[in-house]
Symmetry: C2
Subunit: 283 residues, 2 copies
């Protein structure tokens, strides 16, 4: 499906390993909007083909799946990514879950309880719009997480992701990286556009006021939970066209790596064709 | 959103009330492929807009949702409908569930147990690819359902759907109606096309051999479970272009009827705009 020689070009460029790229930059791939849109268009076909193969593999008894974890500050474009990138593939193959503030019922369970319930089935691409990482970010920034508890959560989460990898789920963790200047523009746009007002939440400004604390919390998360089996990627997200292109490519490279294949029929094709020849039209 | 004067034109024409339309016919709407494709294209925009409003309403605390139930013989195009019709809207707003042969674990529960777990959340469009109706169809055709038990299931299912309606879920039940001749063509196509072979199941021929029994079982289901709050619609499905157009229109009419609205902000827009003005860029 994807060419072998560039099979991890975007992943290599965007894997987090130290300083994050500038939110307005384009460290790999198209640097201008028209080219990025055209490339996203053709990426759609590759993504669809790979998704269909993975899905077929699942129907044929395969156990593999992909889980895209989207994290980022408010307005960083998690929803837009789902719409523009996952919207390119068959809805049958996508399982989307958003994790908001835990409900009272959810809070009575371990924080991974509600996460486990939303894992993709074999053959599916799962998408987490926020995730178990919120269970480090929010309590940490609110000062409700001791250092010992925070370290325990890193360990629990890496163990959980190892378990997923062992079970056949490839976890792709993407941080959508926007600048505070761009966030301000987007928050304003949500307020001045009547049909966008439902997306605005006064709490977003409260979170924004803790921007440096979130940056620190994210940095530590990247350091402690980037593993060989589930590394973190940073996607510069001030430009929506770049964000969409980059996430599509990260997904394509990840899926192509799995080399999903249509399953071999577990029946005799010729025998079935012969049976069909003898089949009449029911009265 | 949708014009008031044709707000239930397609539903009126396709609502089951006696003899089913011919599987190759086009009882309402476009009668030729090019026109149907063009109309589906513009339907996509209306469907997307309605879906976004419903979703926003859900975010704003609304409880309403829509559940599209797809039934039909093998190859009738349930999967194709999901891909071509639900593929037109934002994946965030769609919850897809396929119901295959119940697993051993599922069989230990009441047949509605696994169904309830897949209901759409407020604001979502749920899609059932097969459904609780399989729990009448399959055992009945296999001779495993007494008449008394069958009647009990009709009653349980209409009560269940009443419960859904009361909770704010509008159930749209669609029978994709294909002819045995068209099914034969599609089964052959699945066998001769290597990348379609995974969709073929030798059991499909076994089911096909009971075609008249399935027809009878469906007829009785339509008679006993078509209610004012959850009527059945038959979509002629020998032509994929007609099927896609018709299901899209049924969904649009159903959504338009709900008149979903963007929620009023539960915050003071001007006050928030003023706050944004005073917000600096975090250091």
């Amino acid at each position: 499906m994807a060419k072998k020689d560039d099979g991890s070009r975007v992943r290599d460029a965007l894997r987090i390993g130290g300083k994050l790229p500038d939110p307005g930059s384009a460290p790999v791939g198209p640097g201008k909007k028209p080219k990025a849109l055209a490339k996203l268009d053709s990426a759609g076909e590759r993504l669809s083909a790979l998704q269909e193969s993975l899905y077929a593999e699942g129907v044929g008894g395969g156990s593999r799946s992909v889980l895209l974890v989207l994290q980022g500050m408010d307005t960083s474009g998690k929803g837009g990514t789902v719409s523009h990138v996952l919207g390119l593939v068959d809805p049958m193959g996508v399982r989307y879950a958003a994790f908001k503030k835990p409900t009272a019922a959810e809070q009575r369970h371990h924080y991974l309880w509600r996460i486990r319930k939303q894992l993709p089935a074999p053959g599916q691409i799962g998408v987490f719009d926020r995730s178990h990482y919120e269970d480090i970010l929010v309590p940490r920034v609110s000062g409700l997480l001791t250092d010992a508890e925070r370290r325990r959560r890193y360990a629990e989460i890496t163990a959980f992701e190892q378990e997923l990898a062992d079970a056949g789920t490839t976890v792709l963790k993407v941080f959508l990286h926007i600048s505070p200047e761009e966030q301000l523009k987007r928050l304003k746009a949500r307020l001045v556009t009547p049909e966008k007002r439902w997306k605005y939440n006064p709490g977003d400004l409260e979170a924004r006021s803790h921007w440096p604390a979130y940056e620190k919390a994210y940095t530590d998360i990247f350091e402690h939970t980037s593993t060989a089996y589930a590394p973190w990627y940073a996607v510069p997200a001030d430009h929506k066209w770049y964000r969409n292109w980059a996430v599509a490519e990260l997904l394509i490279e990840t899926l192509a790596d799995l080399r999903p294949r249509f399953p071999e029929p577990d029946y005799d094709v010729d025998a079935e064709l012969a049976k069909l020849k003898g089949v009449g039209v029911p009265a």
